[in-house]
Amino acid sequence: MTTETFTGAEMVVKALSALKVKYIFGYPGGSVLDLYDAIFQQNEIEHILVRHEQAATHMADGYTRATGEVGVVLATSGPGATNCVTGIATAYMDSIPMVVLAGQVPTTLIGNDAFQETDIVGCTRPIIKHSFNCRNLEDIPNVIAKAFYIASTGRPGPVVVELPKDLLIPQNKAPFSIETNVKMRSYNPNIKGHPKQIRKAVKTISEAKKLVVYSGGGIVLADASELLTKLVETLKAPITNTLMGLGGISGTHENFIGMLGMHGSLEANKTMANADVILALGARFDDRVTNNVEKFCPNATIIHVDIDPTSISKTINAHVPVVGLVDIVMQQLLDELSNINYSPDEEALKDWWQQIHIWRDMRKVGYKQIEGEKIKPQRVVEAMYKITKGEAYVASDVGQHQMFAAQYYPFAKPRQWINSGGAGTMGFGLPAAMGAKLAFPDKHVICITGDGSIQMNIQELSTCMQYNLPVVIITLNNRSLGMVRQWQDMVYDGRHASSYMESLPDFIKVAEAYGHIGIKIDTLDELDSKLEQAFNIKNKLVFVDVLVDEKEHVYPMHIRQGAVDDMWVEKGVKA
């Protein structure tokens, strides 16, 4: 009996199929034509053709953030692969599992500066969790299985697999075998929290008078929001979320005190600054959270739970470090709390919450919308929330609109909020929304964006047409790069260097040119009705261009180099 043999291209497809991949996001080119030919000849995996490889990475990323499944990207060698770099960095910064299959020139030409040759493994080394240079045909299935395993376990992240053309061509064949139950001696992601540390954490919690729970993207990645809610309700403590952690607990939960950090709520930052114990869950004390680390929460004992030991005590020293998967550790904490018959100190809690309510009341009205004047961007987000009943998937670009969405759209569930928090990648929003829409065609999927960000991947309107992805694009159009402009107003005496967008296109016509529907909103009285109209169109993409007040700033905002609770609450007014 002869063993059946396969080409490398067929092996890639078979391996992806074995790993239950449904979609590949990509763009063809010379080095990967054999792979495209193999994809063409099967029906299990659908290939989504984008218009730029960067969008393929963001679309895979958005798909992953919405579903939790590993996103797969395919690009050709050279420029195809380098176009993925921004998307890989974006996924890396936010710990998103992704496998990028990059073509490469034949092994015989590697190092010769061949046509469309780039050392993509070298280019991406600082922004990946791991990478593979595939050099043997027989290795392909297990390399891909390992790539998925590494991408999706521990602290997730992107993995690049380089596939030289001569491994994919029809002339070379080998038997196919794959081990999907991957074991590696050099990689054993730590899973359970150390029992001693769990006991120490619970002891610290039980002695706290002013406890705050600070949770981040780890909760979303681990799908641990139910456990988190249970833990918070057990502790009866206030909880704040990072930008990445929004939806980790319902934004309307009574213990939720808002997002913290640079544009977080005053009460969240005040609560952090005055807490005696901070329970950090799947968050990494990013500089956009801490402000000046020297002044960060000097009186707090910090319990830091994270799967990645390098995140612990990197910027802020943790008094009780716990390395482990956040869902497992939270369960351990709950078990230990019940072991010691924990009940919160009601008297201390009463005082603590009273204080928090005082801070909440200090909050100024976030914005002032006056009838007959320009539309305030925050008002648009509120309208969007009302119409979608808070149930939409909201993919954001980067800038003021991102912060307004984070502040004014309380997310009920994790994975609803899709944004580039770590890397801050403009151009992320539209393709990410497309990925979410592909996964959930029956849900409202919004791309909230600005006139700057949308133009960084606007070509994907074409992909939306091809695959019928009717997302609702809401552009808060202020004719400027709003966040840049805000900083220039605050730090550079109002000198608006290159933050003014001259010669903006007519977005309505752009949308129509791609075959979509465009709706322009420029007065407040038509805002609600026209937005409603946009959301009622189910089977076509609607591009809503809302002209908003270009002078509006995002508040609250950290005072630079201050403590976590040193904030501007409105123009020229400190908390």
């Binding site: 990478s131 240079n133 050099s186 990689y187 030991p309 390098t310 005590s313």
Partner: protein
């Protein structure tokens, strides 16, 4: 403070570049770095001498450990250990006086002369990096140093403790 780190990692293409890349990406110092396969050919051992305070060292150890290729990392300088570096030097030996001095210093440091030319001696010395520094200084007081090649340090813990899979 100076630290010596011993790293056991998969002998895979690109593994070394990940380590080097990590150090440059995160602005950690490398004083010296040596790498070679171990008795088990599937494993490489890297020895890195680095500088940094405790906080930086903690991050270096964690970050290196996080690399998928890395199996184990151990700091040698926080316990008893043996540390060696190899030095090859070409020094000017133009006249009797300098030749005698070079020979004498070599004897004192238990180095050896491994090659001679018309006006050049090539000398070899093994020892701790400190000893090598002292040797170079002693020689440079007597003659001109023409070329210097150092291996970077390698080390191993004393006693029962071993870095192995």
């Amino acid at each position: 403070m100076r630290h010596i780190l011993a790293i056991l990692l998969e002998n895979e293409p690109g593994a070394l570049s990940r380590i080097v890349g990590l150090f440059s990406q995160r602005a950690y110092n490398i004083e010296s770095l040596t790498v070679a396969p171990t008795n088990d050919n599937s494993l490489s051992r890297i020895t890195i001498a680095t500088y940094g305070d405790d906080k930086v060292l903690e991050q270096i150890v964690k970050q290196v450990n996080k690399l998928v290729d890395v199996i184990k990392i151990s700091e040698l300088t926080d316990r008893k250990h043996v540390e060696r570096e190899l030095l090859l030097l070409k020094v000017a030996a133009m006249n009797d006086k300098s030749r005698t001095e070079v020979k004498r210093i070599c004897d004192i440091f238990r180095g050896s002369i491994v090659d001679i030319g018309k006006q050049i001696y090539t000398v070899e010395l093994t020892g701790s990096s400190d000893k090598l520094n002292a040797f170079i200084e002693a020689l440079s007081n007597e003659t001109e140093i023409i070329e210097s090649a150092r291996s970077g340090c390698v080390g191993i813990a004393r006693g029962e403790k071993a870095l192995r899979v």
